[in-house]
């Protein structure tokens, strides 16, 4: 046992010395090492900037999606997803006030807002158009910070409604119906009994959600107005707002058993289950990021192979000497791989530092990008500093360099000693 520990100690000392040799070799040709560090660091910095921008975009889109009305959690009846889309309240929640009160007592819950998602026709007397309507309790929505994205003109629905039925419509719908704030429209929808019912509304605001397709169908009225229109006390869903998006899973786990004891079978959906557009965007940009990562990986790999081969040729005689003295060939492979890995580590440090510095500068510059397809508002070029990205990008280049060193290292270890010693 003591002998084994002695051997281990000796090996450790030898490895430490070999690491020192590798470290010094890295700085032997400073100019070349500097160029390699720039290349590796540039790759890492590039990935951090792009990844940081994508993360910022994902974060922005996530919070925008949640705060523009999706909420962190939504409660539906179990039959909701098999419902008839014409008579939407047939599968609505009956005792929603009781459910809302129960949910409201949960930890991290900021508020609960009842909703009716409904469909129908809107008419100005001359022309009709299809709408996708949302009926809300303006006070509950406001308490959760859920507002339409941007008012083109007008104001939000009155929190204490008077006799007049107020409505917000999207810019696209307003344009197609040729109406403005203060004008009236007739909203038609199918009641729970299957009868067509209509209600006259006054437009109090025209909103721009940033998505052209959505704005062409957008209609928002108060919950009371919609219940009168649809002849029902039910709602389609309850929207739950939390203090932080990160608490979604925890609160969902806490609420699920609480909902199971109610007379009506209810289901809880997390925001991510309902945010189809967010998931599509994230999937697309994640694929682009993986593709960029692969490009950086191969760029670093190929150029490093070249640099390391050059290093090997320059040190042929030295390697020959080491082999002549009886250095095991595996040690030569390890030495080259140590050196490449060290360059990877230094390159990653340079990349992480420069990437973060550039990120700070970009964030301070206030740069904006043109609106993405389907959007109407410019996008802020903001970069997030994401630790997992820093670790991932660093590992990527370190592994890339370690892999790049295999071929030169094996070649160095297989040099014919006599030929290597006479190498000029």
């Amino acid at each position: 046992m003591a002998k084994l520990s002695q051997i281990t100690q000796r090996m450790e000392a030898a490895v430490a010395k070999f690491l020192l040799l590798a470290f010094r070799n890295v700085f032997r040709n400073r100019r070349r090492t500097l160029m390699t560090l720039f290349m590796v660091g540039g790759g890492v910095a590039g990935l951090l900037l792009v990844g940081g921008f994508f993360s910022s975009m994902f974060w922005g889109l996530r919070e925008h999606t949640i705060n523009s009305g999706l909420g962190h959690l939504q409660i539906f009846t179990a039959d909701h997803f098999n419902r008839d889309e014409v008579r939407v309240l047939d599968t609505g929640i009956d005792n929603w006030r009781q459910v809302a009160a129960s949910v409201q007592t949960g930890g991290h819950v900021r508020g609960v807002a009842p909703r009716i998602e409904f469909y129908g026709m809107v008419s100005n007397g001359d022309k009709s158009s299809v709408f996708m309507g949302t009926a809300v309790d303006p006070a509950a929505e406001a308490s959760l910070g859920f507002f339409p994205a941007r008012f083109e003109s007008g104001r939000e629905l009155d929190r204490k409604p008077t006799g007049e039925v107020e409505a917000l419509i999207g810019v696209g719908l307003a344009k197609s119906m040729n109406v403005k704030v203060g004008d009236g429209l007739t909203v038609l929808a199918m009641t729970s009994d299957g009868a067509l019912n209509g209600v006259d509304v006054q437009i109090v605001g025209i909103v721009d959600n940033g998505v052209a397709e959505m704005d062409a169908r957008y209609l928002r009225i108060t919950l009371a107005s919609a219940q009168r229109l649809l002849q029902s006390d039910r709602i389609t869903n309850l929207v739950v707002g939390l203090d932080k998006t990160e608490n979604t899973d925890q609160v969902a786990a806490e609420l699920t058993p609480r909902l199971s004891g109610l007379p009506q079978q209810l289901v809880l959906k997390k925001w991510i289950d309902l945010a189809t557009y967010y998931k599509q965007v994230r999937s697309l940009f994640s694929t682009i990021f993986v593709f960029l990562g692969a490009i950086v990986f191969f760029m670093v790999l190929m150029s490093s192979v070249n640099t390391l081969l050059m290093t090997m040729f320059e040190r042929t005689r030295e390697i020959g000497t080491m082999l002549a003295m009886g250095t095991p060939r595996t040690w030569i492979i390890a030495l080259f791989m140590f050196e490449a890995t060290l360059i990877g580590v230094f390159g990653a440090i340079v990349g992480v530092l420069s990437g973060n510095l550039l990120g700070v500068l970009v964030n301070r510059s206030g740069l904006h990008l043109p609106p993405p397809p389907g959007f109407t508002t410019p996008m802020s070029f903001h970069v997030l500093h994401v630790p997992s990205l820093m670790i991932g990008s660093s590992l990527l280049v370190i592994v890339s360099l370690a892999l790049a060193s295999i071929f030169p290292a094996v070649r160095a270890s297989r040099l014919r000693i006599a030929e290597a010693l006479s190498h000029v």
């Binding site: 040799l21 080491m322 002549a324 250095t327 000693i417």
Partner: protein
Amino acid sequence: MEEIVSVEEVSRKFPLDNNPTNHPSHSFVSALSEASVRVTAGEFLAISGPSGSGKTTLLNLIGCIDQPTSGRILVDGVDTSKLKPGSMATLRREKIGFVFQTFNLIPVFTAAENVEYPLLIQGVSSRERRLRVAEALDSVGLSARAQQRPDLLSGGERQRVAVARAIVHRPSLVLADEPTANLDTHNATQLIDLMHGLNRSLGLTFIFSTHDARLLEHTERIVRLCDGQVVSDNSTNGGSRG
């Protein structure tokens, strides 16, 4: 006396990359032809001959860094032709010390670290390494320059570091290929005296290739090669051995 090296009818042929005549007899060049040499422990032996006579080839074969085309070589009783590459490396590591014409020190290591290297790859403990490095550097008179890197040492000093590196692991045999070729007369003389001194004081066997008359003057036994063949093997007192 114990025989440390036995070269028995060894030939070494190298293939030619370009063979203009395409004739089989022209497809290789013979660097060494049926050479035989026996060396006993503690000898100070020179291999001499003009350029291209096969001196380096013979040293490479004895040093197990090349393999003969035919014949066999025994180093310290071990038939090297039967060894696998890993065992050859072990033999070199444990039993042979090398001194090269161009010193071949590791440039990023200090003199002490260069001398320490053979002990490092043998897995000698750090305490033992420190002692033996100090001893080896002292024996070549370079204790004061131990922490200098090779680029700050003179040619003579570098070669003395190389000698210290070759003897630090107490090998059975030290091989030196043209050790004075890159040195001026003063440094060459110092190196010859040093090697001679180590041969006498430590009983180390030295085999070196040279055509340096200064070195040959101090050598008891000279093996002369010409066109890959041993043409004479005699001592300075005139006794022929082969």
